[in-house]
Symmetry: D3
Subunit: 162 residues, 6 copies
C-alpha cells in the first residue's frame, strides 16, 4: 500500500494514467466485495419467496454481476484488463434487505478488487431495476471490499458493518 | 407505480423478461441519482486539492460515469436501450467524503433512473480505483435515485439522508 | 421482399454496405425465432429437473439471449441499431432436446428478425456451454425465423419442422 | 469430461457460477466448429458467383465471425475470457447451402470450443442477414463442435453428418 | 455554429458534460468524412491488385469502418447515441495511397460527423494493421469532415486538399 | 518484417485471417504513436488556457484514448487481444495544433502498435468532437507509429515530420 501522500493513477503533473504493472509478479489473486440493497419486507418476499417459483430474479442479478465483472476494464478507465479465472455472486437475504457477495479470482499481475466491486454493484443495480416499480426508494449501500489476497500486499480483510 | 404485489420484470411463471414498453408514450424524462464515497480527509485532499493541479482525478471519474450511463442497457439485462439526450456528473466534496450526483435525460418511452444510477456508481467505482492504494477501506454508499420526472408516474423526489 | 436477383446489402460493384433505411416508415414490428439444442435425456434431466432446484441453468441462458438481442447490431456488421421495446426467451424442453423461442419487438424502421435470431442462438450457445462437459456432442439446429409482422412485407410465418 | 451426473457451471445449491479454472494448466488448445446455412440454389449463386465480383458477402461474414470469436466471453455468461492466438473462418459452398468452418487457437487454461462455435454462428447469422430479403426461410443448422485438442481431455473429433 | 468563444462540451466551471440535445429537432442528417493512408506503390499493389483475388483486404477494412461507426458513442465520451440509418465506406486507391471515404446517415437530433470520422479512421487503422508487417512507416492523414447536411447549421462542405 | 511480397493477414487464397501467433515468444513490448490535430489559435486557447480552469477538455480526450486502447481488438478485426500493462496519452499543445502522443506496453506475443495508434486516434477524435462547434474544419493528420520495441523485430523508431 502506498504511503498516502500520492494517488498512484495520477502522474507528477496531475495527469491520469494507467499504472505500469509490467514489472509485477504473476500470482493467484482473490478479492471479495459486497453491496447491500435495502428495500421493504414485501419486496424481499417477492424477490426470494414462493411467488417466484424459479427464483429467477436472483439468477438474473447473478448473471449480470458475473458479466459485469468481465466488463470491469471497459468501465473503469485506468483498470487493467485481467484474465478472470473464476467469478461467483451470492445473495444473503434478510428481512428487508439482501446482501450481495461477489468473489473473483485471477492469475495475473494486479488484484481483482475492482472486478469484485463491479460484480457486486451491477448485481445490486439489476435487483433495483427489477424492484423499482414497487419500491423506487430502495437504496444500495455498503459497497466495499471485504477481503483480498495475493500480490505484494498479501492478505487483507475487514470487519463488515453489521 | 405498481401496487407492490408483483415484480414487473418477472412473468406469471417466474421467468425473467424485458417488459414490453411498445405502448408507452414518448416523453421527455429526467432522473437524478447519487452515490457517496466515504474515505479519509487525507485522501479527499489528494482528490480535490492543489496537489493535483489539473483536478484530473475527478475528470476521469466524470467521463467514466457518462460513458457508463451509455452502457446501461448492456449491463442491466432487462433494461431497455434508450437514446440519452444529455448526461452530467457532478461532485460535491466534503471533509472525508464526496457526493457524486448524476443527471440523465432522454426523450423516450422509459425512465432513465437506471442510467443515472449506473453513471453514479461507475463514477464512484472509478474514484475508488484511484484511491484504493491509499485507502483500501473506502466505502460507497447511499446509491439511490434522488428525483425523476416524465412518464406516467410524473414528478418524484426524495429527501436525501444528510 | 426483393425479387431474388440481388442481395440488398451489396452494392452494384459488389461492395458491402449498410442499407439506407432512412425513408422507411416507423411501425411496430415483431419477430419470433427459434433454435433447437439436441442432447441426451440425461442432460435434459440435469437442465430442467429437480437436481437444479432453482432452474438456474435455463435462467442463465434466458438472460444471455436477452442481452444478446441488444448486441445484435454490434455483432452483425450490416444490421441497423434498433430501440428494442421488449424481448423474451422461452424454453420448451422435450425428452432429449430443448426448443428455444425468442420474441423481440421494436417500434422502428427495420424488422427485428436478426435480434430474435441472435437471442435464440446466444441462448442456445449458453446452454451448450453449460452442458459441454457432460455432452460435448450436443448439436444446435433449426435456427430459423418462425414469424414476423410489421413493416412493408406485413405478416409472415412458417411451418416449423416437427 | 465429467461423469454426466452434474453440470459443472451450477453449484451444489443450483446457482450458476463461472467455474474456477485457476488450477488448470496453460496449454495450446485448438477447436473447430461448424454451421450450415441452407438456402436456395439461386441465393447460393448470388453469394459466391460472378455477380458479386469481389466476393464481399463472404468476406463480411468472415470478419463478423472472427470479431464474434473475440466477443465470446461477453456473450456467454459463464465463459472465461481467453487470449485468442488465431482465428479463421472458411466457407464450403454447395448447391443450395454453405458450410461455415471456424477454427480458433489459444494458449490458455480453458478450451476454445465456445469461441469456435460463436464464430461459426455469428458468420452464419451475418450471411442470413444479407440474404433474408431474398430468402427469409433460410435455416441455420448443424452448429456443432467438429474437433478439439489440448487440455486434460486431449484430442476429440466427431463424424460430421453428411 | 457557436461564436467561437466557448466549447459547447464544457460547462461554465470547466467540467465536461454531454450537451443537452433534448430540444433539437429530429431531421435527416448526413455526413461524409475521409482519411488518407499513405504507403508505398508495392503495398498498394498488394492491397488492391490481382495478388489478392478476392480483394478481401479492402472488404475487411470496410466492415471494420461500418462497425466502428456504430461504436462511436461508446468511444467518444461526450457523443450522443444515434440510430444510424445507413453507413458506407468506399476506397479510392491511388499510386501510393488510398483515400477512405465514409458516409453516414441518421434521422435524429444530432449530426453524424463523429460517426463518419470514426468509420474513416477505424477503416484506415484496419488497413494499417494489415500492411504494417510490410510498411511499418505508413501514415494516416487528412482525417477530416468533407461535407454535412441537415440540422440547424444546414449544408456545409469543404475543399479537400489534393 | 516480412519481405514485402505478401500481406500477413491474407491467406494464399486471398481470404482474411487472424494471424497465428501461438508460437511467438512472450516478451515486453512498447509502442508509441501520435496524431496531430490542426485547428486555430483561438481554439487552442480554449482547449488549454485559463478559460478552462480544470483543463478538463484534455482530460476527457486522455481518458477516451486510454479506454480506446483497451478496445483495439474489438475494433480492428484481425488484431489479437492483449493484456495491456500500461497506457498513457500526453498532449503537446502548439500555437494552432496539438500533438497527441500515446504509449502502450504489454507483456505478450504481439506488438502494441495498433493499441497506441487507436489510443492516439480516439483521443484526437474526442478533441475534434469538443471543438467541432467552433472549428468544424479542424483536421487530424500525421497519425503514425513513432517507435516500437520488443519482439522479433527489436527496436524501431522514425523521424517525426516537424
Amino acid at each position: 500500500m502506498a504511503d498516502g501522500t500520492e494517488l498512484t493513477h495520477v502522474g507528477a503533473d496531475g495527469s491520469a494514467r494507467m499504472v505500469d504493472v509490467s514489472a509485477k509478479a504473476v500470482t493467484q489473486r482473490i478479492a471479495t466485495a459486497q453491496a447491500v440493497l435495502s428495500t421493504t419486507p414485501e419486496v424481499m418476499r417477492l424477490l426470494v419467496a414462493g411467488e417466484l417459483p424459479k427464483g429467477e430474479a436472483l439468477a438474473v442479478a447473478r448473471v449480470a454481476g458475473i458479466l459485469g465483472a468481465k466488463q470491469t476494464s471497459s468501465l473503469i478507465p485506468l483498470c487493467h484488463p485481467l484474465p478472470i479465472s473464476s467469478a461467483k455472486v451470492d445473495f444473503e437475504p434478510a428481512e428487508s434487505s439482501v446482501r450481495i457477495v461477489a468473489t473473483v479470482k485471477t492469475t495475473g499481475v494486479t488484484g481483482v478488487e475492482m472486478e469484485a466491486l463491479t460484480a457486486a454493484s451491477v448485481a445490486a443495480l439489476t435487483l433495483y431495476d427489477m424492484i423499482k416499480a414497487v419500491d423506487r426508494g430502495a437504496v444500495i449501500g455498503e459497497l466495499l471490499v471485504v477481503a483480498k489476497s495475493g500480490g505484494a500486499s498479501g492478505e487483507w480483510s475487514r470487519e463488515v458493518p453489521a
